[in-house]
């Protein structure tokens, strides 16, 4: 025993799952969605994703250097933000917009607050919303998915939510596309952002995260549940004006938001009760914005608004501690 021993406070073992490990597992869970985006939208999709991912990593490295902090890109969180941002952009996004989005996500969304763990809002969503408000034309120039076409013959098209919104505004009635043919949406044969198209692969990714215990059921279930209940109430009151809950679930960024954005650990509550409230709030706001707001899609706004409420939710949802008040629940007799 020549070398001095290590000493630390207990415990002396660790689960082995680290921050970088979590980030990597989330990236793996997104890979099917990434693959689908490339198959449906071709090379433009690949271009956007590469720019966003590399852009985010580069921005973070630059920030670390400027802030004289240890380089934090090895934890993969910047790469994850880049992929999530790309999945929130249309395939036709110009390169400068993708790059600007990356810079906004990392610099304004994250590093300005002190880096990973300190950002109050989901960085990718901050970037998406800033871009949406700043460049409404580019951000809503959707192309119809054309599987395996490499994206060379892209045809512009409206998203189902956009189409529904304009039809309802014009006629007060739901168009036919909002009442039937949902299986197409489930597989992703609809226009939208790169990561919004296929509910199927996003669901698979989400289930993978649940199975790996990276996320818990609380936020996805309460988010989806509240969308179903609230959208269902409207649908039952007037099925000709309000689309069915299923339409809400399968279109737009809902699945991406439910499994990958709302569950972002940094910006969601840490208590189980808080997560349920958070999910319900997201669901409520999403449906309200979709049905009554100015924008056809409301998932990003809903999640960002709930991000803002997270510290408050955490504060008021602390669990009753063990022995906090006298329990007697029977037990072994």
């Amino acid at each position: 025993m020549d070398k001095a021993l290590y000493l630390s406070s207990s415990p002396h073992i660790h689960s082995g799952l680290t921050t970088a490990g979590i980030m990597r597992l989330v990236i793996y869970a997104l890979l099917p969605a990434v693959a689908v985006a490339i198959v449906f939208f071709g090379l433009p999709a690949l271009k956007v994703m590469l720019i966003c991912t590399l852009g985010c990593v580069a921005c973070e490295a630059l920030c670390c250097k400027l802030m004289k902090q240890p380089l934090s890109i090895r934890d993969s969180s910047a790469a994850l933000t880049g992929i999530l941002l790309a999945l929130n952009l249309p395939a036709s996004s110009p390169w400068w917009m993708a790059l600007l989005g990356s810079a906004i996500a990392i610099v304004i969304g994250k590093m300005i607050f002190g880096g990973l763990g300190y950002n109050p809002f989901n960085p990718a969503l901050v970037a998406r919303v800033v871009l949406l408000i700043s460049f409404p034309v580019q951000m809503t120039s959707w192309t119809a998915p054309t599987p395996l076409s490499m994206g060379f013959d892209a045809v512009s098209s409206a998203t189902p939510l956009g189409e529904m919104k304009s039809a309802v505004m014009l006629t007060g009635q739901l168009p036919e596309m909002a009442t039937s043919g949902f299986d197409r949406y489930f597989y992703g044969l609809m226009a939208g952002s790169l990561g919004e198209v296929s509910a199927l692969v996003l669901l698979l990714g989400g289930l993978f995260l649940l199975w790996k215990k990276i996320i818990t059921w609380h936020i996805p279930v309460s988010f989806i549940g509240s969308v179903v209940v609230i959208a269902g109430v409207f649908w039952l009151t007037d099925p000709t004006r309000y689309p069915s809950p299923l339409f809400h679930l399968l279109t737009g960024g809902l699945m991406l938001g439910v499994f990958f954005m709302a569950t972002d650990m940094v910006t969601s509550p840490i208590t189980a009760k808080g997560m349920l409230i958070f999910g319900c709030g997201c669901g409520l706001l999403t449906v309200l914005i979709r049905l009554f707001g100015g924008y056809p899609e409301g998932v990003s706004f809903a999640i960002l608004l709930m991000n803002a409420a997270t510290p408050l939710i955490d504060r008021y949802t602390r669990a009753e501690i063990y022995g906090g008040h006298h329990h007697d629940r029977g037990g072994v007799q």
């Binding site: 290590y6 406070s9 689960s15 921050t19 840490i270 208590t271």
Partner: protein, 438 residues
């Protein structure tokens, strides 16, 4: 049927297979035994022998000081070679009696057993105190104090802790297999002292052989053997009470405040030996294990045996050691030297190699909530640790820092590898100081 348990907790790899099937081996005596005067919670014992004096096994070498204290006895017969401060498992040099064994291991003549059924509870408690019996689960709280609830507390349940939820440790498991009758006898003595009807014996169901053996032995007795699911910290006092009775110990209070008293299986066996044979607590079962040990096994060790001797008995070190831990990996204390002796609370000696020690630098908290979901006390460890880093003593108190049992689940689970328990332990000290002042 769903087994009773508690909310929260973790499932670390138990690593018990290496020693669980091996019978307990008596560890030969070392060249010198280092017997510290502090081996329990409470006031240290006062040395009552002199250098050069010959002592017999079980002879008193340290007398109890005050009510919360127990005496210390010679672990073997031999000569007192020194009385001096020696490195203690707490990391400081504390008074110890050093004994050079004479090899005969002769018991002291005055020790005689008695029939517990002819003694009243007070006499039994006194015998336990004289025998130096303390909780052998690791906390080493004097047993006679724990068995003396104030008259205004009505105790209706005695809980026997056979959970052994710490990874790697199998000493209690082997004890239940090899000394079942003594354990049952000890439990019945404890029951007699407390005068309770209900006795629940909780055993984690990764020890089916122990459950079967104890069920058989307890079949004719009022002891109910209850299998428990495998989950850390199932054997923590509060969690065990919650699982077995459905009650919670009120915050800031003792188990007796919810009518329950918990005793470890090892303590029960020691109680039996102390009463029936009059033998004081001078040896214990210690699991010597871990990837750094060549042949891990369970040893019956004389108190005061240096760790280096235990390692020699287990084939030596397999590699350059990284961490030497007394107790289990979740709540044990890391040591800086192998010169430290085994004391009454030493349930295990775990040796990790250098490559087994995680050197990960703590990162920023990503608020994943993994510490919150596993906390068996339902605290928010990350918030309390943040208070500790920022020195927010009053806020830490409002987040119930003092209720933390330091089980380590949060730190085990923290992806940012933050030293949560250590931070909470720090701020607990500050909170207590703050409360004393105000």
């Amino acid at each position: 049927m769903r087994l009773p348990t508690f909310p929260g907790g973790i499932h670390p790899p138990d690593n018990k297979a290496t020693t669980a099937a091996k019978a307990i081996v008596a560890c030969p005596l070392p060249e010198e035994l280092i017997v510290p005067m502090l081996q329990h919670i409470g006031a240290p014992a006062e040395c009552c022998v002199t250098v050069g004096q010959h002592v017999a096994k079980g002879e008193l070498i340290g007398t109890a000081v005050g009510p919360v204290s127990v005496p210390i006895h010679a672990p073997t017969s031999g000569e007192v070679s020194a009385i001096e401060p020696r490195l203690h498992p707490v990391g400081r040099y504390l008074p110890a009696v050093v004994i050079r064994p004479d090899g005969s291991d002769r018991w002291h003549d005055d020790l005689q057993g008695s029939d517990p059924n002819c003694l009243n509870p007070d006499e039994l408690r006194q015998l336990l105190q004289q025998a130096g019996i303390v909780g052998l689960g690791g906390a080493t709280f004097p047993t006679h104090i724990k068995l003396s609830p104030p008259p205004d507390r009505s105790i209706d349940t005695l809980i026997i802790n056979g959970a052994e939820c710490e990874p790697y440790l199998t000493g209690d498991h082997r004890l239940m297999l090899e000394e079942g009758p003594n354990i049952v006898d000890g439990i019945l003595i404890l029951r007699r002292i407390l005068g309770v009807k209900r006795v629940i014996f909780g055993i984690e169901n990764n020890k089916p052989d122990a459950i079967a053996a104890m069920s058989k032995l307890c079949a004719a007795s009022p002891i109910k053997v209850q299998p428990l699911p495998v989950k850390y910290p199932q054997g923590a006092e509060k969690q065990l009470i919650e699982a077995l009775t459905g009650r919670q110990v009120p915050s800031g209070k003792l188990p007796m405040d919810c009518g329950a008293i918990v005793q470890n299986v090892g303590t029960a066996a020691a109680v039996s030996a102390a009463i029936r044979q009059g033998r004081p607590l001078v040896e214990r079962i210690t699991t010597v294990t871990g990837p750094g040990i060549r042949t891990p096994q369970n040893l019956r060790v004389a108190i005061g045996t240096p760790l280096s001797h235990l390692i020699e008995q287990c084939g030596g070190l397999s590699d350059e050691p990284g961490k030497i831990i007394l107790g289990g990996p979740m709540m044990g204390n890391a040591q800086m030297s192998l010169a430290v002796p085994v004391i009454r609370g030493t349930s295990g000696l775990l040796v990790l190699r250098r490559q087994d020690v995680s050197l990960a630098k703590p990162g920023p908290c990503i608020r994943c909530g993994r510490c919150v979901s596993v906390c068996p006390i339902h605290l928010q460890p990350t918030v309390i640790a943040l208070c500790a880093r920022l020195g927010l003593v009053e806020m830490a108190d409002t987040y119930n820092a003092l209720d933390c049992i330091e089980c380590g689940c949060c730190t085990y689970n923290c992806p940012a590898t933050l030293p949560l328990v250590q931070s909470i332990r720090e701020i607990k000290g500050s909170v207590m100081e703050h409360k004393r002042k105000h």
